[in-house]
């Protein structure tokens, strides 16, 4: 039975520049070059830049032409949001092995509920180490971990941690820890940050030292929340995700069938029906079970754990079809039952990167484009076809040849 759960003790797992780290993990040696990810909504601007690129003066939000002017050796990477969501989903799944209470906040930032885990692991340090082990080895040097009472304290602790290390704030020490932290850790827009600076408030301690009513009068409801966060009065618990219950689809045959083709066809129908189930929306299937009731009372069972959770009917069907071919039911089938028994967060549901449906659709389109490009490469000129992507360089230029450029497109 699935249920939601909460935890007041929180660990914050933060992998800064997560999409860039995904690309570095995928392309060996990339970390040795100044790199930048193009923005997902407009390829004219940069989204995330590596530290080497920063040293050259390249900053997020710059246009491609500005960045190239500052760093001619800059390597530009097109974003692959589906891949980032998949990697993040993997991280969530492995964190679920440490704690049942896992709350994703944004790409590369997760809260893990650790209430009661001391009984299993023995100490806070051991829990932190167990969490660290769930992170991909390539991300371990950059992951920052924070521990504290409530999500905010855990986040501030993680933001203060050095890369690859953890900061633990003991229960009861939140107020003292938070007091010395800069206001930049507060979830604020730049305008409110500026106002706090103009008021001479640079630390959470300075903010918390003011009367709550005064801060509320100045900043309204937001100010009240900020004051409470700064004073350590709020300890928002980690809220675990509610996993759906198993989804079952069944088919009863009036005449028992033994032909494999018919069984495969029925299986496809059952998968399509189960995928359409409202409980499945937003989740990818991780474990699937196919049962058959045989004529005369026997039964047949095939289970499969999908290495890569998916909502694609073909990928769910493939291992079951193989099983039907290699070890088919020993008799005619009267009833076929398909069950989706475990799920992983779906990329479109997560929408951590692609926060709206339109962006999710864009991500899907990009995946389709990459697939088509691979197909063209395979078919044309024995894989030597050159594919280019048109990027805007100076679209405002009066000189037509300055407006756009072609860049190698290598999906």
């Amino acid at each position: 039975m699935s249920r939601s759960s909460t935890s007041s003790l929180a660990a914050c797992v933060w992998i800064p520049l997560f999409p860039l780290r995904c690309e570095e993990a995928r392309q060996g040696g990339l970390a040795n070059y100044p790199t930048a990810l193009l923005a997902p909504d407009t390829t004219r601007k940069l989204w995330q830049v590596s530290s080497l690129a920063r040293h050259a003066g390249v900053k997020p939000g710059m246009t491609v032409s500005q960045a190239i002017g500052l760093c001619s050796s800059l390597r530009l990477i097109e974003p692959d949001p589906v891949h980032y969501d998949e990697r993040f989903s993997q991280l969530l799944s492995t964190l679920n092995e440490v704690s049942p209470v896992v709350e994703p906040s944004e790409l590369g930032l997760v809260y893990v509920g650790i209430d009661g885990l001391k009984g299993i692991y023995g100490s806070t340090e051991a829990i932190i180490e167990a969490i660290r082990q769930t992170v991909q080895p390539s991300d371990r040097p950059t992951v920052r971990l924070g521990f504290g009472l409530g999500k905010f304290t855990a986040w501030v602790a993680a933001s203060r941690a050095k890369p690859g290390e953890a900061v633990i704030v003991p229960v009861g020490a939140e107020k003292k820890f938070l007091a010395s932290q800069p206001n930049s850790v507060l979830p604020l827009d730049s305008d409110t940050h500026r106002r706090l600076r103009l008021l001479g408030l640079r630390t959470l301690g300075a903010l918390a030292a003011l009367p709550e009513a005064a801060v509320t009068a100045q900043f309204g409801a937001l100010g009240k929340r900020l004051w409470r966060l700064a004073a350590g009065r709020i300890a928002e618990p980690v809220e675990g995700r509610i996993a759906p219950e198993p989804i079952v689809a069944a088919l009863t045959f009036f005449t028992p069938i033994g032909e494999r083709e018919l069984l495969v066809h029925s299986l496809d129908q059952l998968i399509a029906r189960a995928l359409k189930h409202p409980r499945r929306i937003g989740w990818r299937v991780q474990a699937v079970r196919l049962r058959a009731g045989l004529e005369g009372g026997g039964s047949w069972l095939a289970t499969h754990l999908l290495k890569d959770p998916t909502a694609d009917a073909g990928r769910i069907a493939a291992p079951l079809q193989t099983r039907l071919e290699q070890s088919p039911p020993t008799g005619a089938v009267e009833r076929l039952i398909l069950e989706f028994t475990a799920f992983a967060p779906g990329t479109t549901e997560l929408q951590l990167f692609a926060r709206d449906a339109q962006a999710a659709a864009r991500a899907g389109q990009q995946r389709a484009l990459q697939s088509a490009a691979r197909e063209i490469r395979m078919r044309v000129q024995g894989g030597r076809a050159n594919l280019y992507h048109v990027i805007e360089v100076q679209p405002w230029s009066r000189l037509p040849e300055r407006r756009y450029a072609l860049i190698d497109y290598e999906p």
């Binding site: 995928r26 001619s72 390597r75 990477i77 009066r398 407006r403 450029a405 072609l406 190698d408 290598e410």
Partner: protein
């Protein structure tokens, strides 16, 4: 061995799009323009000039001055060409 799924887009691999292509322009006695390729082949005779405009830019660096013409060739083909007013050379280019 499987190649990396994606490789970075290197800025040193940027290729220009819509670069001006050199052409020759000759005027006959009656003033009709004939456009040709540098290898001597004829592109066509200009039947009408639809529009003309001028671009002066980057005077602070290397002066760029171009006189653009949008023309219709015999046979109906539409073409945009310009004369580089610094060197006097003619080019065709997409608008």
């Amino acid at each position: 061995m499987v190649a990396p799924a994606r490789t970075p887009l290197r800025t040193d691999r940027l290729r220009a799009v819509n670069e001006p292509q050199p052409v020759t322009v000759e005027f006959d006695e009656s003033g009709v323009m004939t456009i040709g390729r540098p290898d001597g082949r004829t592109v066509g005779k200009v039947e009408a000039i639809l529009e003309s405009w001028r671009i002066d830019d980057e005077w602070w660096r290397y002066m760029i001055a171009r006189a653009y013409l949008e023309v219709i060739l015999e046979g109906g083909k539409r073409l945009v060409l310009f004369q580089d007013l610094i060197t006097g050379q003619w080019f065709v280019q997409m608008p």
